[in-house]
């Protein structure tokens, strides 16, 4: 029985990785861009993809929503980003942070790095709790406030998050373009090296702290987390059958307690907790499969107490 459960868990993990890979290929399907080191210029780039995926990646077929948000806010004269905000809201309400757990290419990279067999680090609870607010600060300050209010003489502003922080832009766009384009290589300065250093630090941290960037730094995850509690796709715990073994907490890449925080702001709905639950108490719950009344389920009670 235990062996069956382990086997099933491993196969679900494989399926999850395949979905993540397919998603990465779907959003980055312009393969000739990789070959010729030029970016895609087709009409699909007027659509935002739901994930953090740099539009300057040579293979990208769509637009990064965080980059687009800054581009519209920072355009000459400044405009309210109706289209980008609406798209983000739609993604958030439909899928919530399932996007982080299953679709984001930068999430996949972190998942692969966290498989490196080294001892994982747990930050002290208080530090961890406070650091999780950093992503909201990055969203409010670097993605919204600075591009909206700090303008140059022409009336436009910088994409502050992309320019100074975004590791996905460096990894997917910066490094391949600079490696294979001599003209761009000649323009490298301290800013590029700062971004490479930051990328290296984030990727190294992801080896020791699974999903480091998603936990503490991703402004897109911060936005989706606002919708996680009422997104169409959610997970729930049957508190009646839960045996409080703690196995779900051990495997959670976001280091939350699924029994109390499932589908809460920090849950990326990856389903690892469901894979290991010996009592099969955790389920993925699109509304069509919602449990019938009488079987108590806890859903995203951030405060810590499970409702039943």
């Amino acid at each position: 029985m235990h062996r069956d459960r382990v086997r099933s868990s491993v196969s679900r993990q494989k399926v999850r990785t395949v979905i993540q890979l397919c998603s990465a290929v779907l959003f980055n399907g312009f393969l000739s861009g990789l070959k010729n080191v030029r970016i895609f210029t087709g009409k699909t780039k007027s659509f935002c993809v739901p994930v953090l995926n740099c539009y300057s990646c040579p293979a990208a077929l769509g637009s990064c929503p965080i980059g687009s948000l800054q581009a519209v806010l920072g355009s000459a004269g400044g405009r309210f980003p109706f289209y980008v905000l609406g798209s983000l809201m739609l993604f958030g309400v439909l899928l919530g942070r399932l996007i982080c757990g299953l679709l984001c290419p930068f999430g996949l990279i972190q998942d692969l790095l966290s498989r490196i067999p080294v001892k994982k680090v747990s930050l002290p609870e208080k530090a961890d709790r406070h650091l999780r607010y950093v992503k909201y600060i990055l969203l409010a300050v670097f993605v919204i406030a600075l591009p909206a209010f700090i303008r140059d003489d022409s009336g436009s502003s910088l994409p502050w998050f992309c320019k100074f922080i975004c590791p996905a832009g460096t990894l997917e766009g910066g490094i391949p373009l600079v490696l294979f384009n001599k003209d761009l290589r000649s323009l490298i300065g301290p800013l590029f090296w700062w971004k490479v250093l930051l990328l290296a630090a984030i990727l190294t941290a992801a080896v020791f702290i699974p999903r480091f960037f998603c936990r503490y730094m991703c402004p897109l995850g911060a936005f989706y987390s606002l919708f996680n509690r009422f997104s169409l796709v959610r997970m729930s715990v049957n508190t009646e059958s839960c045996i409080s073994c703690g196995k779900c907490r051990e495997v959670c890449p976001m280091s939350i307690d699924p029994v109390h925080q499932i589908s809460g702001a920090e849950c990326i709905l990856c389903g690892r907790c469901r894979d290991v639950c010996p009592a099969s108490s955790i389920s993925l719950d699109p509304p069509a499969f919602r449990t019938k009344p009488g079987r108590p389920h806890a859903e995203g009670t951030e405060g810590g107490s499970a409702t039943s």
Binding site: G62, F82, V93, T170, L184
Partner: protein, 54 residues
């Protein structure tokens, strides 16, 4: 307790519908404002800031 649960479910469903409608309205306004052209124009050129050069 089940009554509370149902109430909470209803509240969640109402919020979900509200935000779905809001998202649709925002997207329509954005499309009417041709905001997608700003997005497209930004995305079809190499963003030097994004790659750490600009």
């Amino acid at each position: 307790m089940n009554e509370n649960k149902t109430k909470e479910d209803r509240r969640i469903a109402a919020l979900r519908i509200f935000f779905l409608i809001l998202a649709a309205v925002l997207i329509i306004i954005g499309l009417l404002n041709k905001e997608y052209i700003t997005v497209l124009n930004k995305a079809v050129r190499i963003c030097l800031e994004c790659i750490g050069i600009g």
